[in-house]
């Protein structure tokens, strides 16, 4: 088998939500000396993005994405010791849900998709006050601060986070805000740089666009 076949099998096991087969195929690929970065990028991440696409097309449901993500996490643990370092970071993102909002499914899916897309994600969890977004962005020298929310009552705190981030001279991060109560117009109104979308797949596309804007600036 050539590398591509190994990668294809890994991808397929993930799409089939077959965790046992995924671990066997991943180990087999590692044993055969397949490039671990390619295993993550073209095998695992590609498989998860496929499951994500099926979810967006309503062919699958969130529980399937979660099961795929859990399986992918286990496979990633096998691969990580073989990686030379964080080699394909597209950019650094600080991600969390805003204070008052503890809905973590959407945020976790966004983290997965961003990581699948090559971003280095610092997940600061749920119920995060505005100040902590700023502090973490400063510490990490992040490219993007991504704020996730499900409940409209939490928009005020997002607005406060945007003000603090824009006001901090030593924080260069651009702000991405996503979730059901947000839209392009609302994102602009509360001071964000870009609307992250309604779902995790769009969040990845938005993060890529925001990063290229940042790098072009």
């Amino acid at each position: 088998m050539d590398e591509r076949q190994y990668l294809e099998r890994i991808k397929q096991a993930l799409v089939d939500l077959n965790r046992d087969r995924l671990l066997v195929e991943t180990q087999a690929a590692l044993d055969e000396g397949v490039d671990p970065t390619r295993i993550i990028k073209e095998g695992l991440s590609a498989g998860l993005l496929l499951v994500g696409d099926q979810w967006i097309r309503k062919e699958r449901f969130i529980s399937h994405v979660l099961v795929a993500a859990k399986a992918m996490g286990a496979a990633q643990e096998l691969v990580e010791p073989h990686l030379a370092g964080d080699s394909w970071g597209a950019g650094k993102i600080v991600l969390g849900t805003i204070k008052g909002d503890l809905h973590d499914i959407g945020k976790n899916l966004v983290a997965l998709m961003l990581r699948s897309g090559g971003f280095e994600v610092t997940d600061i969890g749920v119920d995060v006050p505005a100040e902590r977004f700023v502090e973490t962005a400063r510490e990490q020298d992040a490219d993007i601060v991504a704020i996730s929310l499900l409940m409209s009552v939490c928009l005020d705190e997002v607005e406060r986070a945007c003000e603090l981030i824009k006001g901090a001279q030593d924080v260069r991060a651009r702000i991405l805000v996503g979730g059901p109560p947000v839209s392009d117009a609302v994102a602009r109104e509360i001071g964000a740089d870009m609307y992250g979308g309604f779902d995790a797949v769009t969040a990845l596309e938005s993060a890529r666009r925001l990063l290229s804007q940042l790098r072009a600036a």
């Binding site: 939500l17 969130i62 529980s63 008052g100 499914i105 976790n108 119920d127 409209s152 009552v153 609302v186």
Partner: protein, 363 residues
């Protein structure tokens, strides 16, 4: 017709005088007296006073008792913290699957905030008697389970450990049944089972059939036995499950904004009454009164003919929803009249047609 009679007519598919309306103002109602959820959570008198005051301002057709859907999971041992407007689970009682063995059905007469809500119901009944629908919101079994184990863990377990999930759902259903008995005893006319986790946005129709239907059906049967109206409220996209929802024993489905009420009506026919479904954020929170009014008219035109329809928002209103927008919704209902053949006519145009759709809506 009084408020109760009007809602009953809609549910029975007979002729109401006009389109009934329940904007789904829960925590928003408390704002009328300057209360927030946090300030009333253990005070049934304040909860009831807020709802009564709101009912006088809005003049809608139902009063919703309770404030949130965490009463049951809190009574079962999950740690709940209360922010200004909404309580949230900060620590799940089930951390390992074996923790389920220690979980016991609480005594609904005494556990946590259950007696606070039943006392609120008694106060509301004292005030309104049988002129107004008094309807508490409660947590459905699957959603309750998600608050005990975490939604993400639960959704994974539904695929990986279904037998365990059924054991958990049994305890949740027994907890709900105990709570519903107390609510029935307190005199509520109707009881809502809130099941956001069973949304078609989160689970598949097969999962709804396996993990939701049989459990909520037990709650609905209890309410029906006592002559109360069980209400099936599912958030988000319900198109994939609406046919199942119509067959579970609840005569009233509350539907959220992502679906078309006209199509929902076609799907359920005269099997059940449907309520909804104006977007609580784009229209109710961010729209103008005339945008809300004309959106409500559009929903009425889609789904009110034949009775079996109640106008409302798709989900609980944001506490900041402008009073003018709630009144615009109520006006849209008051501007209608039902004919004998159950067609609906508008007798006034209380607001000018808006020039634009709400700004948040993509063109």
């Amino acid at each position: 017709m009084n408020h109760l009679e009007r809602i009953v007519a809609a549910i029975q598919h007979t002729k109401p005088d006009r389109v009934p309306v329940t904007p789904l103002s829960i925590n928003r109602s408390l704002r009328v007296l300057g209360y927030t959820t946090k300030t009333v959570l253990y005070d049934p008198r304040k909860m009831a006073d807020g709802k009564i005051a709101a009912s006088e301002v809005f003049d809608d057709d139902a009063v919703v008792a309770g404030t949130d859907l965490f009463v049951e999971s809190e009574a079962l041992g999950s740690k709940v913290e209360v922010y200004e407007h909404v309580p949230v689970v900060v620590d799940y009682v089930i951390k390992e699957p074996t923790d389920l063995d220690r979980l016991a059905v609480p005594d609904a007469k005494a556990a946590g905030r259950m007696p606070v809500v039943t006392d609120e119901i008694r106060l509301l009944k004292e005030h309104f008697g049988d002129t107004m629908v008094v309807v508490p919101v409660t947590c459905g079994p699957l959603t309750m389970a998600s608050q005990l184990y975490g939604p993400e863990q639960l959704l994974i377990a539904m695929i990986e450990e279904p037998a365990w999930v059924h054991r958990l759902l049994d305890i949740c259903t027994e907890t709900a049944l105990g709570y519903w008995r107390e609510i029935i005893d307190a005199g509520a006319h109707a009881i809502v089972a809130l099941e956001p986790i069973s949304s078609g946005t989160l689970i598949s129709p097969d999962q709804y059939r396996e993990f939701v239907g049989p459990y909520v059906a037990r709650l609905f049967a209890l309410a029906n036995e006592h002559g109360r109206v069980p209400v099936n409220h599912v958030c988000g996209d319900t198109v994939p499950i609406i046919d199942q929802m119509a067959g579970l024993g609840s005569p009233l489905l509350q539907l959220d904004y992502p679906i078309s009420m006209g199509e929902a009506k076609l799907a359920v026919g005269d099997r059940v009454c449907i309520a909804g479904n104006v977007d609580p954020v784009d229209y109710m929170l961010y729209g103008t009164p005339s945008q809300v009014y004309w959106k409500c008219r559009a929903v009425i035109e889609e789904a009110a003919a034949g009775s079996g329809f109640i106008l409302g928002a798709g989900c609980d209103l944001n506490p900041r929803t402008p009073t003018e927008n709630i009144l615009a919704m109520v006006h849209a209902a008051k501007d209608t009249v039902y004919n004998d053949d159950l067609t609906v006519e508008f007798i006034r145009e209380s607001y000018l047609r808006p020039e634009v759709k709400p700004a948040r809506k993509p063109a």
